[in-house]
């Protein structure tokens, strides 16, 4: 169904031109209809997350949330590796030398900074379009915070993951400790990773459920991610976005509460024309991707 060969995909999803203005750390493109590709683009810094990055993520995903032409998102990293995590040099001032007249005021300002950083990845969750993340090479520290806020995780055979924060003397505070245990099933493994900062490689990432697919190399990964994104983008956006929103709601509520919210949601959403169009395609044994859905 994806007519492009892997290398062609890789070219389509590469961003030789560098970041897309006004962004300085993100290259944003549309490799296929209704699919937005967000590439972290600081390859010479191993895609380390600097001040600009944290701000631009919020802007970028706010824009994507409103972009009716986008129905699925792929996040990846430019260059040799996904991300080395926080850019400690660029952020040293904010993180290592917080301001304030006394400890209470310093603390107050630190909390603001943490909350500000947390927002950058919560923005991914708040975006109603599904976000796939394609990971190759290193995914360290803040990188794990990022990918656990995405909906679907795919990686290459050479990918590795590290909850690095404990090695730097802090408890991870941008989402890993909150989301990782709700993303994989083995609590013993979560604790081991977070407390020892050991590396986890692709095979264990797959068997533990952190990623749902492993690809041979980056070209295959990008082709696979694009293919899956197109599958999703080709389906009814009413169905797809309702699914994401309700899956997230259910994560944080009891089953009974999730069912109540679901019913309140779908009492209007079932009145979409997409239902009839999709049902018809289904009866005619056509793919939903052949249907033209109105924007949402």
């Amino acid at each position: 169904e994806t007519p492009l060969s892997s290398p062609a995909v890789l070219r389509a999803m590469s961003s030789s031109a560098g970041p897309t203005p006004p962004y300085t750390t993100l290259a944003v493109s549309r490799p296929a209809p209704a699919v937005t590709h967000v590439e972290i683009h600081r390859p010479d810094k191993r895609n380390a997350m600097n001040k600009a990055f944290w701000r631009e993520m919020v802007e970028c995903f706010s824009e994507i949330s409103e972009d009716q032409d986008c129905r699925a998102v792929v996040v990846s990293g430019a260059g040799k590796t996904f991300t080395a995590g926080i850019d400690i040099v660029d952020l040293a001032g904010e993180v290592l030398q917080p301001r304030g007249d006394d400890t209470a005021r310093i603390s107050y300002n630190i909390r603001k900074t943490i909350t500000h950083f947390q927002e950058s990845f919560s923005a991914i969750e708040r975006c109603p379009k599904p976000v796939l993340v394609a990971i190759h090479g290193a995914c360290v520290g803040g990188g794990v915070d990022l990918i656990t806020a995405c909906d679907i995780r795919l990686c290459t055979q050479d990918a590795w993951f590290q909850v690095k924060e404990v090695d730097i003397g802090l408890a991870a505070d941008v989402g890993t400790l909150q989301r990782l245990p709700k993303v994989i099933g083995s609590r013993s493994l979560v604790n081991e990773l977070a407390l020892t900062a050991r590396k986890m490689y692709a095979d264990e990432a797959k068997s533990s459920g952190l990623v749902s697919r492993v690809f041979q190399h980056k070209a295959a990964l990008m082709a696979g991610a694009l293919e899956m994104a197109e599958e999703i983008a080709g389906r009814s956006p009413v169905a797809v976005q309702g699914t994401k929103i309700n899956l997230l709601y259910s994560r944080d509520h009891s089953v009974e509460e999730g069912l109540q919210f679901m019913a309140a949601w779908n009492m209007s959403m079932l009145q979409t024309a997409d239902l009839m169009k999709s049902a018809q395609a289904s009866m005619e044994k056509k793919s939903p991707r052949t249907v033209a859905f109105a924007k949402l």
Copy 2:
């Protein structure tokens, strides 16, 4: 411990006579002492869930809840496949052409319908007797909603699962989005299944934890399910039902709250004669299945 051979079990658990009146879609039998078998029985329609089915599930499980002679339940599907999901032809009127004088009133009625459908499977959870589900062939759409509301999932090697709803233009609203993430450990996989509607086969169902056992063919599946149901039915109903009720309570509460409820529950339940009887059997190295427990 099950003296019956697999083919004999299959005969014991088949329902050539068709649905058990007054039911028109369910064949209900007692293949072993204290074990109730509920077979979805519309084989010529691939066990598609029609209007009658949704109503009869509630009635059937209400009855089972009150039936003191039943201590464990096996659910399966008659014919070639577990279930093709919702019977869209039979339900077209209700689902595709809801009534109401304006959008608000139409929505109000749709919500009633969704809630009514949700009840059909929540009835399985509310039933205090453990419910095993034995899946062979296709388990599509509403079928996934159904099996995630059961306590133990077993399947054949040829079983496959599909969260089909997104292909029909809607977000699944009868329980899959609420229960599936609490039933298997990999959130990336849950999202992938729900957003792409791809099929998942038995091996992945086992490795992801959706099912806890895979059998070669249907006869073995039914024998295995019956054997496990008898194991459960042979134990103290005070212990078994208390276990189910508290496992479900804990799913939706914090550990601390779960412990509190557990203590309030067991302060009376530990006063059962079953405790002494079971302890004695245990000390005599006898199986709890040799003990005669009073009804509950």
Copy 3:
């Protein structure tokens, strides 16, 4: 990094001298700097949990919580097996013959007893230092309650696990039903184990995520556990204990609430000197274990 050979470790972690006074069921030692080893020590009774054990666990972990020289804990069992579970002979009076003038009063007293037992293992969770548990041989009944309250689970190839309670005529009430489903990813498996009391062996314990590592024999297990405990004990206690506390908080709250608590926590914790020391070591490519951290 652990200079000791496996047999040496085993010697270091054995407790031929028996329980450490004033304890009568626990041998407490310090096999490596900042690592406390708690060995359940009733080998002739297969480490069955008697009255003294339940009380001593609380005392021991209260003491460990306050002990600034301890930064990680390993729990294991002396002798041939981890634990046979509750010592029903010693506890028969309390459990099987509760006092009280009428059913209400008997119930009231039973609830006190259950709550008292629950406390013994909740004490492990409340202890801010990470607790690793090393399991060999049998881990039955109360043993499963115990290990699910620990942070990291490791076992030998010959270990097996059994949620035994249903065989004795009761629903497990000291934590298994509350914690096991939050510890492993497959709900079908949890239900099967709790409702049938079947044994689960090391391989399934690993693939289901109950344990995160399996070792060939007890000497390797103890060496591995000690090694991992030293890894953890060598890192910043501010980082490590903050990680444990927030991982547990997040288990019982929504992601949004977890993030809020995390920010309130770290607004002061990031002001630790450990951050700078660790960052420096990291930049110098040294292990955090080379850093001297102040006590906590």
Copy 4:
């Protein structure tokens, strides 16, 4: 706006004919368009709640929930007093002599009975039409459970309220302990009433917020209740029922969660024709009661 004089109202709302078949304890009538009057009707037994009453309440409010011609409900008591509470003579068997082979089984059955009783009043909450309750004379025991499940409480000057259960040797278990603290603002008063079983008279009921209006005598009370019910019944049922449903949802959730549910609810409900009709009437300075709304 109500053309009837008080005595005429009282006649309209009296039920000399006794209970309305098939009910044996409830007289159900329609004293004004779209207003249903449910009168507890066992005046010679001081409206004590017997076995039939608990069952009929559920049936009656299930029916009202589905009755599109009803938009508001008034509950009151026939004869000299609102209700003396549970009919202990009629229920002695079920409550005082529960069946079961051992304490666990007796407890299990008692829990079923309590849950069954709780349902009778939760049915009032689940009914989406607002329920006003008009109380005169005594409102004792189960009567307090009942009225706290209603939406609006009105009473006569001679009304008095008593949380009687503690005097009979039990903790109130049909809703008073759960709802009373969420219905009035003073927790000290709630505790005093529940722990001492003292009577509270109309003035304190008003100043504490238990009732929102006090009337001189029963005729005035019934006229006032009917008048208020007509006010409510005359407004858009989409607006009124949405208001009740969301007020109850918000009681049991955080503000943030309540807002989310509200938005999911109103995204369809605002598409009602009632909005335009009501807005027009409002601009023309007409009462909403002059508008003809479609059924819901």
Copy 5:
């Protein structure tokens, strides 16, 4: 303590110059040190809430949140009345004629709008500085949504309040149904107000707890509000903002959870220099308002 006479205060807090650019509906001033006055300023439209207002409230309170020179806020309305509520003429397009290709898409857009409106008042809650609201004359519809999101409510003798939405054919969806029941103690009164849209006057607003003080006329109200705001602004901002943040957190959580969050909050905040300065002033019998606190 406030040296100004009432008329002088009124002049100080009047805004004859009209809205403060860039705002078009809000006049923002600083009538006393560290006190920000936000006046809704569309007096010729009875301060009806138009499109600009909803947007400007978010901007204004975001700015106030960051403004370290502001320690307390007073909100009031210009002209004859507090506010007539939503400006239905200005918002007719958005509210009455929502866009979208089918019902699902229209609903989706309506939900966005509701969420957007809800944000305007949630911004008041998220602002860590205490917000007092001074109400005179009418406070209708959206006005009640607004004031329930403020921390302290004061009014004139001629003020009246009306939950108007049900009269326009909708359930209030900008916060009233969520916050009003958590703001006043009588649930019967809340329900009556929301279901009948009747007016509530100052006396009942006081006795029911909606407002905590009533003043004779607007000049006295503004003087009283300013006086109270100065009291608050004169205290340690570490203490004051910590109090607001924790009061709001506790509203939506159990006592136990509230205590945990409080402890995590104050473990750093107690290290403020304000503590020593305030304690010293207290021992010297000086008002905390005499202390110079650092900014926060």
Copy 6:
């Protein structure tokens, strides 16, 4: 029903002998059968809460919890006033000069201290016997934390209450911010009190619902408190303690969850002999206080 005259009561409840060893700040007595009187006894220090007090409260209420001869508790203050709050001189070391090698470690220790203080009052809630508090004169700072953790609040006409913490530069962290809003109905008043530290006198305490009764002077207060405590102590302890436990559970849970816990609780508690004894007394028109109940 209380045969003692007020002065006699006052003598009975006075503690001229000073604190009851081993306590140094509490005088504990039994002024009537089954009623324990806990008097804060540092009259020369205006009952300020010193280090010993915080520890002794936990010990005292732990003991009361286990004392089967106690069925109700009265807390009051010796001398001229209820309590001046925290003894800042005695606690200066712990509170104002916390230890630790860096800010993180200081914070960690402060959190321990706060949690330790919070425990002192949570012990009152955890005690299953109802606790009445009788307040005269000043009730300042920590005093408000204390009384909001009690079940029933009574005061003299000269009592006044002050949430003092904000004046000392901190947000109250021992329970007031968590419990006060759940104890009185007006949120505007709660916020005003906590943010301005103004005094509230007996009349407003009564009208706002903080206290449920006001007495002329201390003798009348103590007589009234004792009388009410005897009323409670004279009723079935099964009923009384079940009521307290469930009222507290319901405060922190939804109505549905509260009902579930209630049913689990009462399924055993209704099997008490107290039920029959109380019912018999009731039918014979005797007070429950004439019944001899077994201990609990």
